[in-house]
Symmetry: C2
Subunit: 190 residues, 2 copies
Amino acid sequence: MLRDLVLKTRSYRRFRQDADVSTTTLHQLIDLARCSASAANLQPLKYAIANDPATNARIFRHLRWAAYLKEWTGPAEGERPSAYIIVLGDMHISQAIGPDHGIAAQSILLGATEIGLGGCMIASLNREALREEFSLPEWLEILIVIALGKPAETVALETVGPGGDIRYWRDEKGVHHVPKRRLEDILIQL
Amino acid sequence: MLRDLVLKTRSYRRFRQDADVSTTTLHQLIDLARCSASAANLQPLKYAIANDPATNARIFRHLRWAAYLKEWTGPAEGERPSAYIIVLGDMHISQAIGPDHGIAAQSILLGATEIGLGGCMIASLNREALREEFSLPEWLEILIVIALGKPAETVALETVGPGGDIRYWRDEKGVHHVPKRRLEDILIQL
């Protein structure tokens, strides 16, 4: 059931860093995105991968982690992602990406869950520093970075409380709680 | 296998219009989107549904169909979508939707495929006319319209030819052909 897969596809930020994610696996995940919808079928997305410690470290330092967890600056050495997919927009093809990177990222994350991996779509990062790090040309827009690995934390999906606070939080046992708005609160009557 | 579901999740534009899509089904699909990732977990998306002939007609007239099929202006009466989900951005919550509507739309479309439905994410539409049609307030940004129904056409996924033309086309038997870029052409070496 897709629903089970969607429910298991949570945003994970701590991993078993020593669990490798192969290049073949990353290519298979990108191929799911490749076969997904694209606005006007333009397919402006490009993908750069990393799955070795040195390159991973060069990406990691430009990412910002879990803004709502004020006392946590990101995963420690040993619990960092084993791989990354940088999702890029080819501005020679299109300068309006629209829903494409979200479609692609969801295909990739669902595919990762299916094979026992997990990850996080990271939109909060120092794009200019990442561009310089790898000398990425200006015509490639850095859209999001998908961190991937073997999850090493529990994420609990919950219903937003009466106060309406949507900030995720971590309890004393390290469980990450994510409040989601209720279905009735996101439906608009025409 | 998710891959099978992704491959079956094509953009369909002709349907068996008399095949109903229930409100319960639409809510179940939206619930998949509700449980999917959202940037900073802000969850700014709202959803309006339609699945009766009168409301469907009021949406249909503002949509633009298949820009590359110059001689086809859209599905004829009898082959139009049975339902719609209008994906809206609540600008009181966030004015930068980022990947959220793409993530949501992909969850919805994959869920539709699983239960024998299909559809199309439509980003090309007359937003101002649709807004006026239903007196939608200004704080709800119209992001995309997802058309849904029982598909009544065959869509063939293909590899882009040497000329690089990504425009979909329809053959004399009515089969819709969609050229996708090759994996090796969308990978960027870091």
